[in-house]
């Protein structure tokens, strides 16, 4: 399957925020906790939880920034 040349000339298909939205918040999970422990140690489970929170705050920051920019109201 190749990329259609008509794909979204009016959108930013490469936006990092849309990618993170998908690869971090969606997709199959192996366990309910995303990552299983290795040798009894939860290697990155905690980090991923923080990561999710981080991504949400970035989503907020990005969209609020957009809104401010669109209003032309630097506040």
């Amino acid at each position: 399957m190749t990329e259609p040349t008509t794909a979204a000339p009016w959108g930013d298909t490469n936006a990092l925020v849309d990618l993170l939205d998908r690869v971090i918040e969606k997709g199959a999970v192996v366990t309910g906790d995303v990552v299983i422990s290795l040798a009894g140690v939860d290697l990155i489970r905690l980090d991923l939880r923080l990561l999710l929170a981080g991504v949400e705050s970035v989503l907020d920051a990005v969209t609020n920034h957009d809104a401010v920019t669109n209003r032309g109201d630097p506040q």
């Binding site: 990618l19 998908r22 997709g27 199959a28 290697l43 970035v58 989503l59 209003r71």
Partner: protein, 269 residues
């Protein structure tokens, strides 16, 4: 095998031709999430998991305060996505969530073996379909946006003589805001309906904190219906531009938002 289990990073599950596996399929993968390791397959019959060595150090020390385009997370996410997309160019995929690990390749093989029927059903569901993102947001009308009835306490008239004029103006503003929000709500319903009828499945993100966004949805579209889907997008984009509403399309994506599998291993914890 058990002497040196190697933590394994999972990108996606896909289908392989049992006869053609593995050399032809492994020839042209992009670099793994760590940037150096090879991407390989763990196969079971017609199913295969796309995997590589797990970048444990990179994942566990990932700085979380930097999510810019040049951040480590952005780099890892883009490499994860590149591998998923490479698999998706060959066959249907079920993408794993970023950061999914198993202790070793044996555990990956066990996963494929034990969940093979659920995995096949999920692959069948999304086969020959791709995901498209649709976002509808307000672009214009700064006057109506700014006059949203937030904290009217701060807008009290400073002089009592201006009270009537203030109330009249305020009432007009509220009417305008209400009319505008009706327009936006209807636009979200209409746009979703127009795309939903062309999609196999859709997901609509509940109204979140993203300012000005009135519809944030994903559609799983058959490749045979993409031309029609995109032409609808083009038409709606022009229509709503006049109403100062922006329609953004992203894609095509692997079916990240349509995996819809229960956790593949129950009962952990």
């Amino acid at each position: 095998v058990t002497a040196n289990p190697e933590p394994t990073y999972l990108y996606a599950i896909t289908r392989v031709d049992p006869g053609g596996y593995p050399d032809a399929v492994e020839a042209a993968w992009p670099s793994a999430i760590d940037g150096t390791s090879p991407v390989t397959l763990v196969a079971h019959q017609d199913l295969a998991a796309v995997v590589s060595r797990a970048p444990l150090a990179q994942l566990s020390s990932l700085p979380l305060d930097d999510l810019s385009e040049t951040s480590p997370l952005a780099g890892l996410a883009r490499r994860h996505d590149a591998v998923v997309r490479a698999a998706f160019e060959r066959a249907a995929v079920l993408p794993f969530r970023f950061g999914t690990l198993l202790p070793d390749r044996g555990a990956v093989a066990a996963l494929l073996r034990e969940r093979s029927s659920a995995l096949r059903a999920a692959l069948d569901r999304t086969d020959s379909h791709r995901e498209w993102g649709v976002r509808l947001s307000e672009t214009g009308s700064p006057a109506t946006r700014q006059s949203a009835p937030r904290s009217s306490m701060h807008n009290q008239p400073t002089q009592s003589t201006s009270g009537t004029a203030y109330l009249t103006r305020r009432r007009a503003e509220l009417v305008a805001v209400r009319a505008r929000s009706d327009v936006l709500r209807q636009a979200a319903l209409d746009v979703h309906q127009a795309f939903d009828v062309q999609a196999r499945e859709s997901t609509v993100r509940p109204e979140g904190p993203r300012a000005g966004v009135v519809l944030d949805a994903c559609y799983l579209v058959s490749t045979t219906k993409e031309a029609q889907f995109l032409s609808t997008a083009q038409r709606l984009c022009a229509e709503y531009r006049d109403l100062e509403i922006r329609l953004e399309i992203t894609g095509p994506w692997p079916p990240y938002s349509f995996v819809a599998l229960a956790p593949l291993m129950g009962g952990h914890d």
